[in-house]
């Protein structure tokens, strides 16, 4: 499964658990208009860390918060390409 598909699956799973109506996931979907609240995003990030073994928000340099679903996926893709930091 591609990274994008893994992330999308977590969005759908959390939306279902939190009983939230998730908008169709496209790259230009603004996260704040996706139907999810901040707790949902917190859960997605925590679960992705467990599933993937890394958390791009935890990078040493300040991370720009993603605005769209495309930004969010790119954040994870870019982090995965970095050599593992100590």
């Amino acid at each position: 499964m591609s990274l994008r598909a893994v992330i999308a699956a977590h969005f759908q799973q959390v939306a279902q658990e939190q009983r939230r109506q998730l908008s169709p996931l496209s790259d230009d979907l603004r996260l704040l208009q996706s139907g999810l609240d901040s707790l949902s995003f917190a859960l997605i990030v925590a679960r992705l860390e467990d599933a993937l073994g890394f958390d791009p928000f935890d990078a040493p340099q300040a991370v720009k918060f993603p605005v769209t679903f495309g930004d969010f996926v790119k954040l994870y893709e870019d982090d995965r390409r970095q050599p593992a930091a100590g």
Partner: protein, 462 residues
């Protein structure tokens, strides 16, 4: 008040024994012999740090020292050597009493060989109202020195009067801690006591307690969960089961009720600083709101105890309150100007009953919403396939923190549900009973949870 006198007729009964790991000593042995012998006079009027590793030796020493020493500091066996100088300084310690050699080189040392009293009988004479000092395990590691008198320690033991009986107490607590000391004093006045050794496993302790035909057993909810987990809980058949020192949630109460159907099941609220405050014996978590409106006798409030709630926190004024902290300017006042001790324990009123929801300061902040780990643990522990749980925080870039949980399954490995099944069931239960921000974001299955020396769950600083 003098302990030697307060022990009363129990001092002469052959049944009044203290059962240590290696020896059983009847209290009457102290009538015919002495642990400290002639050296006791050297300690008269002085500040003594009581630090034997063996709890039975310490118990007999404190009987001899009360009324003799000016101050007596009860050190639990796990006191870190790096904290010993702080304890000595705060207590203005003059003599270090130990059953080991070289434990505190900076101080005059008196080595005691126990637990069997080998010296000839001494004339017991009261000269000092001994100050009893207990170490309160602060969450940050540095112990606080809490000053009591024998009268404040015995405040909860005066009424109702305890009559001679065949009570055999057992306690998972070390007797140098408030919960254990309460039981030691109670047992020495009426009955016998099985003491838990510092290195003794729960299984070995329960086997020894069973041999002594223990009737009354006390410990923290975490002690009891460990006992149920050990598989040895069925070795004992107590008439009385008591929990204190942590929040007793409905899950542990129900399990103890099932394990000991004929026992009186009591959970008590007590702390080193506030003393014994009340007992709840209806088998339900929390306590009746009547406790705060003066229906004392009906609901188990100790005599002379007054309660108030401010900022959701329980505050207590009682003859059992400690007198203060030791340690000069560094010591914070123990009570407010009206004499109420802030227990730091937070309460919530639901349907005429107060529930402890956790410690002030232990709160997890999930995007500005507060979560007490204990309230989530209470829900998780209600799941029949969970033995124990610990809830904590994990840093989160979105909400600052999210709630995470570790759970110990109740069943042995071979009959346990698949981890994913158990996690799903626990999450479903949490979602049913808790608002979304309190539901764990992740659950980890573990075989055991670390307990502190005081028998409480070790919590990471949030």
């Amino acid at each position: 008040m003098w302990l030697w006198e307060w022990l009363g007729p129990n001092r002469t009964l052959p049944s009044a024994c203290l059962h240590g790991v290696d020896a059983t000593i009847p209290l009457q042995a102290l009538e015919r012999a002495s642990l400290l012998g002639d050296r006791l006079e050297r300690l008269r009027g002085r500040s003594v740090v009581l630090a034997p590793r063996d709890p039975l030796t310490a118990a007999l020493a404190l009987v001899e020292l009360d009324g003799v020493a000016r101050r007596m500091v009860l050190c639990p066996p796990d006191l870190s050597p790096k904290h010993a100088p702080d304890v000595i300084a705060a207590a203005e310690g003059e003599v270090w009493l130990d059953d080991r050699v070289g434990a505190a080189a900076a101080l005059e040392e008196l080595r005691v060989e126990g637990p069997v009293p080998k010296h000839g009988a001494v004339t017991r004479r009261y000269s000092h109202a001994t100050e009893w000092v207990l170490l309160s395990s602060g969450t940050t590691g540095v112990p606080k020195l809490v000053s009591h008198t024998l009268a404040s320690l015995c405040a909860a033991l005066q009424e109702p009067s305890y009559e001679m009986n065949d009570t055999v107490w057992g306690t998972f607590y070390d007797i140098r801690r408030y919960g254990g000391l309460q039981i030691l004093l109670r047992a020495m006045r009426c009955g016998a006591l099985v003491l838990h050794g510092p290195q003794e496993s729960i299984t070995d302790f329960l086997a020894r307690a069973a041999r002594a035909q223990v009737t009354h057993v006390t410990g923290t909810p975490s002690h009891w969960r460990a006992a149920l987990m050990s598989g040895a809980a069925a070795a004992i058949a107590p008439r009385y089961v008591r929990l204190s020192g942590e929040i007793a949630d409905q899950g542990i109460l129900d399990r103890l009720r099932a394990s000991y159907p004929n026992a009186r099941l009591v959970h008590a609220f007590a702390s080193t600083e506030a003393g014994v405050v009340f007992e709840v014996s209806d088998g339900r978590a929390g306590f009746s709101a009547g406790l705060l409106s003066g229906q004392q006798a009906a609901v188990g409030l100790q005599a002379g105890v007054e309660l108030k709630i401010e900022d959701q926190r329980l505050r207590v004024r009682s003859p059992g309150n400690a007198r203060g902290y030791l340690g000069g300017a560094a010591a914070a006042p123990l009570s407010d100007r009206d004499g109420f001790v802030d227990t730091g324990d937070r309460l919530e009123l639901r349907a005429g009953r107060y529930y402890f929801i956790g410690r002030a300061g232990g709160i997890i902040n999930v995007g500005g919403l507060k979560v007490h780990p204990e309230e989530v643990e209470a829900v998780i522990n209600a799941h029949p396939r969970v033995r124990a749980s610990r809830v904590g925080a994990r840093r989160n870039p979105i909400t600052g923190a999210v709630v995470v949980a570790e759970i110990v399954p109740a069943d042995p490995l071979e009959v346990r549900p698949a981890p994913e099944t158990l996690k799903r069931e626990v999450l479903e239960l949490c979602r049913e009973r808790l608002p979304a921000h309190k539901v764990p974001a992740a659950i980890q299955i573990v075989e055991r949870l670390e307990l502190s020396a005081a028998g409480k769950l070790v919590r990471a600083e949030v």
